[in-house]
């Protein structure tokens, strides 16, 4: 709800974009860490599972799905606020 023009998309302020940006960013950093920065000692603690790599990949996939959802079904801010509720002033 940035501008009260008619039937516009919510644009940048769609929380799904924020969620996919943050989780996607986490995913990229984790994958990078998993590939170059995770020590053998850390791997051994988790029985050899490269947590950073796998969790990072999972987060990237999740972020991509969320972004796709936001793109396919954008939030449309209706211009007729009175649609069903009528006057809301207290």
């Amino acid at each position: 709800m940035t501008q009260p023009s008619s039937g516009h998309k919510a644009g940048a302020f769609d929380i799904r974009i924020f969620i996919s940006m943050l989780i996607g960013l986490y995913g990229v950093v984790l994958v990078a860490t998993g590939l170059v920065g995770t020590s053998d000692d850390e791997l051994a603690r988790a029985d050899g599972v490269n947590i950073n790599l796998w969790a990072g990949l999972g987060m990237i996939v999740f972020a991509a799905c969320f972004l796709a959802w936001a793109r396919l079904r954008p939030v449309v801010v209706p211009d007729d606020e009175q649609r069903s509720e009528g006057d809301e002033t207290p």
């Binding site: 709800m1 924020f18 943050l22 960013l25 950093v29 020590s39 988790a46 809301e88």
Partner: protein, 560 residues
């Protein structure tokens, strides 16, 4: 590993972890600033202009409750009691959320009230309203302080900052986004927090399960631990309820925890209800708690199971469970598990998730306090008939004041943490009589104003009375811990109903035309029913609730 009694639990966070935590805070503040641009009236600020989609408010609904007490407390219960802890979710929260959506939300949303106390005012008049509004406002300030204290003490443990620095920094961040963007900022951040919490706890759970040899390995280890095999089946849960008799234990869990405590909490607590009120239609308002019920029923898997894994793998906890020695407590289960399993990188995400969860709880307290203070106390009793922008300003000042007071109560909590636990238990007692008064008032139009406030007072007094007699304080009656709270809440419920009925029969009821939309027999059910039945099934509250109920029954059977 040898630990001295005062050994500090520390996580070895490095720059990658700090970077990931910093990303999270940048997003939180960014959302607060962007949400501010859309605040143009007090309704925007306090109820998000009633414009949010149901999945957003549904997730916020879960997140507002997924605070420090939930994550730390339920994983500690998982470590201590095992599987029976799921009752808090599958017998407690989920049925109550469905009931709120299907039965109670039409009254809240349909009567256009802006808060739960305002509904009390319309239905029962100002005596009940004042009791409710003041006790709620005071409780929120104290609980915000508890949340803030837990948040700061985790920061102290994790990062080694002094407690007061953690307190001020955490409070400043929560204040920045709630005071700027009002409820929208709080809700959007709660949704973001939900995903960060899941991103933190889900990998931890999976890696932990892998480490103990999968679900079967965990079962084997728990059965071999001091808790034994009974920690693997949810019923009768005698250790959890504190009743030795299995029949009493089941009754205590179903009626005390399930019906009275959880219904009381979820259906009358404005912190929760406020989230559903911020939606754009009646159907969306009803669907928020119902949509929230779906993720809620799976929260135990990422909270209780890590607790159970910690109890059988973390050296300090294994020792503590064996003979009670060592400096560990169940409250630190998740932290120990993070320390043992997570590499730098994922550790940062996990810390961000914990910080997110603690801030969610506090932000929810502050934003609900704002609304009740501004609308129900300031506007109703102190300064009436000012222009709308005035009350938005009052709300912002109230947020600042509430945060400062919360820092004060957090300092208090730091020196008297037991007292604060007691206080929180006590405030829980307000919910059970409130639920009794609401449910009777909604379905019995004969119930009078005098019955409204006298039932509340008598019910709360009964709860406090039982609690004082229980093992927690005097020990006259032999119940304590969780069982004591179940009995106290049940007593409050019964006493409230009895007093309300007796007082109602002796006093004059409100004239019927004043009850429009407030009681069941005077609500517009038929017209709404026709509108709703044209929607697809997943937008019909009752059908959606039916699906959720079937799922939660299935979960209950699977973990019997």
């Amino acid at each position: 590993m040898i630990l001295a009694a005062d050994a500090q639990l520390r996580l070895d966070a490095n720059w990658i972890d700090y970077l990931l935590i910093a990303f999270y805070f940048a997003f939180v503040i960014g959302i607060g600033i962007l949400a501010r641009r859309s605040v143009s009236s007090s309704l925007d600020f306090f109820l998000s202009g009633r414009s949010l989609p149901a999945w957003v408010t549904g997730l916020a609904f879960v997140s507002a409750n997924l605070g420090a007490v939930e994550i730390i407390g339920m994983s500690a219960n998982g470590a201590n009691y095992g599987i029976p802890t799921v009752h808090y979710f599958w017998v407690g929260a989920v049925p109550a959320m469905l009931f709120l959506g299907v039965v109670m939300m039409p009254f809240y949303y349909g009567s256009k009230v802006r808060s739960v106390p305002e509904f009390m005012n319309r239905r029962f008049g100002s005596a009940a309203h004042l009791v409710n509004a003041i006790s709620f406002a005071v409780a929120q300030l104290l609980i915000a302080g508890i949340n803030l204290y837990l948040l700061a003490s985790i920061v102290e443990v994790l990062l080694g900052w002094p407690l007061w620095v953690s307190l001020v920094v955490a409070a400043a961040i929560v204040l920045t986004y709630t005071a700027l963007g009002g409820l929208s900022a709080a809700i959007y951040n709660e949704v973001l927090q939900f995903f960060v919490i899941v991103a933190a706890l889900l990998p931890l759970t999976l890696v932990g399960l892998n480490k103990v040899g999968g679900w079967d390995g965990l079962k084997e280890k728990v059965a071999g631990s001091p808790g034994g095999g009974e920690q693997l089946s949810s019923w009768p849960g005698t250790a959890l309820s504190g009743f030795d008799n299995p029949v009493l234990s089941v009754i205590g869990i179903v009626f005390g925890l399930g019906f009275v405590l959880s219904f009381g909490y979820w259906t009358t607590n404005f912190v929760e209800v406020q989230r559903a009120m911020a939606t754009n239609s009646m159907s969306a308002a009803q669907r928020s708690p119902i949509i929230g019920a779906f993720p809620k029923m799976f929260v135990p898997f990422i909270v209780i199971i890590p607790g159970m894994i910690a109890a059988v793998t973390v050296n300090e906890l294994v020792q503590f469970k064996e003979d009670g020695s060592g400096g560990a407590t169940y409250n630190d289960s998740i932290l120990y598990l993070m320390r043992d399993l997570l590499p730098n990188g994922m550790l940062g995400v996990a810390i961000a998730g914990l910080l997110a969860s603690f801030m969610a709880g506090m932000a929810a307290n502050i934003s609900a306090f704002n609304t009740v203070f501004s609308y129900d106390l300031w506007q109703t009793y102190l300064v009436k008939d000012k222009e709308d922008s005035y009350y938005t300003a009052v709300g912002r000042v109230a947020a600042v004041a509430a945060t400062l007071i919360a820092i004060g109560t957090a300092t208090f909590a730091a020196s008297y943490s037991n007292v604060m636990t007691y206080l929180q238990t006590l405030f829980g007692f307000f919910n059970a009589p409130l639920f009794a008064t609401f449910i009777l008032g909604m379905f019995w139009k004969r119930m009078t104003a005098a019955a409204g406030w006298s039932g509340l007072v008598a019910g709360t007094a009964a709860a406090v009375g039982v609690w004082v007699l229980s093992e927690d304080v005097l020990g006259v009656i032999g119940i304590g811990e969780q069982g004591g709270a179940f009995v106290a809440a049940s007593a409050a419920f019964v006493v409230d109903i009895v007093v309300s009925v007796v007082v109602s029969l002796a006093t004059e009821p409100k004239p019927e035309h004043e009850l429009e939309g407030l009681v069941y027999s005077r609500s517009e059910r038929t017209r709404r029913h026709e509108e709703v039945s044209r929607l697809p099934w997943h937008q019909q509250p009752t059908r959606l609730a039916g699906v959720a109920l079937a799922l939660v029954v299935l979960l209950n059977i699977l973990f019997w």
